[in-house]
Symmetry: C2
Subunit: 351 residues, 2 copies
């Protein structure tokens, strides 16, 4: 499977594998009574978003307004959770336009964002649903305590143009019981104020097979699971055969017996390490380490490199989500068959 | 200078600073009798390539055929060195088309690439000029010894459709005397075979102010110097005021007194570290560390973060060349004045 008809470097997406990944995780969520809301930042392809919905997802998750705009443009996607604090007149105007076309939910973790959302939606035909983002240990965005979550929920509930929609967290890997306690405490505190908590949204591919261990969570967001990557393989979440995305590269130089250079560098594979050693896994050659990336070159080392100029290799990257964002097109395949290029919608956009 | 009219995250390029960088290094090369051939992979903007030529550059350097195609599309650039081993029918056909429009030079470090180039140019109206890429210590591509360089030069010289054009290296930082010896030995060996060595091309922004210390080098290729970045500031090559490229970001969350989160993550700043700690320098706030990037969030830490949701920060990234490649447009400025967006030509292309 070196696809002589495809010029390199190319980002390949095997649809057979991606679809199997979609279906397998949908079955897991169905079995555990979890609603699935896939994060499309991984693929940015409307066709795959629709496939995720068709398999049973309740909607999609986006990180940027431009992603949501691109995903709904073709139709077939009409329920979007935007897991980001939206600020500023330009973005708020686009948010308002989006909300008039689809069912839209957003998040907030502070009063300034709530005030902005309320200002933009006070005279809207319908209120905007806002979830409170909670920092349950990951240390990024989010209110810091269950009491803070209840205070912000009450503020949203009272704000003109807004409706409180629930809680949202990106839990730390293996957060387990502490995350469950946090969310239950917050939910109880909010309900004690007479406010309903319709949704508790958790997420993350690394913990995907343990999502049911946090029973407070009603909806699950994951992105990487559709493609998988070396970081998830290293965590035991998937095998190499479950990796739908790979980078096809050509050996352009074999300077020494232990070194080869390929035409995929940091402008395709990216420098994301995610705690790993090296910049990707060469399929079929576990002895090779991708030691250095420059912008358009990747340097491979092995005791005996055994490659010739013109050979092709396929690489499972460390992090699929950022690699899928690097080129204007990915190339869709099914096993050995090439289906053709697909434009990666919404990549390259500011917001 | 927080540019309220620009939505964030945005990649800003201050043309006043970029032009001063162009002129300063051109003056250095003129003083030392070096020909300058800037690498446009940093900016990918035809307007800046033309500005580099107007300042005195002998031509430009590209890493990809698509970069060369984009740079010559508007006219004004007609001399391109493509510092890459070009392989395969699709790329060779585009190379041939390019060579009929401009003065084109390429490189090779092995016989397979030379054979491919010769096959593509054997019936061309004019021969293609090919330089031998030399590994003088950087450990990427390149022939390994001066004798190998001489052998490959002779092979190019004898190949139908090709003309030997000289030597090319990307020297190791602070290579100094060893690189000079390598190149002189190779040059002497090639001339001993009756073959002229018209050009010896060196390069690299980290060593830019020591380029004259390798007298064998006749032409110098540099990319990053036009924008500069945190990696070059850390090496003492430039100051913060010489950094033409910055990322404008908005604070979207201040969860704790020592943490803030901005709307620029790895899909703008990239994960390139270049040996540095953290993911960029917040201008005016040397106490802040950008500790973690997720795809659309950057996490800032400081003992007292002192930022409010909605505040804007400007960040000099670790590596300007990869950041300029992330968005469809950069925003051109001159000091406090916004000139407007410029499409980043040739980004997102496979090759």
């Amino acid at each position: 499977m070196t696809f002589p008809e495809i010029d390199t470097p190319a980002v390949l997406v095997d649809l057979d594998v991606a679809e199997a990944n979609i279906d397998r995780y949908q079955a897991y969520c169905d079995e555990h009574g979890l609603k699935l809301r896939p994060h499309i930042k991984t693929h940015k392809l409307p066709s795959l978003a629709k496939r995720q919905i068709a398999a049973g997802a309740v909607g999609i998750t986006c990180q940027k307004i431009s992603e949501a705009e691109a995903m709904i443009a073709e139709g077939g996607v009409d329920d979007v959770l935007l897991t980001y604090n939206i600020l500023g007149a330009a973005k708020l105007a686009r948010l308002r336009a989006l909300a008039e076309r689809i069912r839209l939910l957003v998040v907030a973790d502070n009063a300034i964002v709530v005030e902005g959302l309320s200002g933009a939606f006070a005279d809207a035909p319908a209120p905007l649903t806002v979830l409170v983002e909670c920092d349950t240990g990951a240390g990024r965005c989010g209110v810091q305590t269950p009491d803070d979550a209840a205070d912000l929920a009450a503020r949203i509930d009272a704000a003109p143009g807004l409706r409180f929609g629930g809680l949202m967290t990106y839990p730390p890997v293996a957060g387990g019981a502490a995350v469950q306690d946090w969310l239950e405490t917050a939910k109880t505190a909010i309900e004690a104020r007479g406010i309903d908590v319709p949704v508790v949204s958790g997420g993350g591919s690394p913990d995907m097979w343990a999502a049911h261990d946090i029973p407070a969570v009603t909806e699950y967001r994951i992105g990487t699971y559709i493609y998988n990557d070396r970081s998830l393989q290293a965590r035991g979440v998937c095998g190499w055969d479950d990796c739908a995305l790979s980078v096809l590269a050509t050996v352009v130089s074999v300077p020494t017996g232990d070194r080869a250079v390929i035409d995929a560098g940091s402008k395709v594979l990216t420098s994301d390490l995610l705690g790993l050693d090296g910049h990707g896994h060469v399929l079929g050659r576990p002895d090779i380490r991708i030691t250095v990336l420059s912008e358009e070159h990747g340097t491979l080392h092995a005791e005996r490199i055994g490659l010739t100029v013109g050979d092709r290799v396929r690489i499972v990257p460390n992090h699929a989500c950022v690699v899928a964002n690097m080129l204007d097109h990915v190339t869709l395949t099914r096993g050995d068959r090439v289906e053709g290029p697909a434009p990666v919608a919404a990549r390259g956009q500011v917001w």
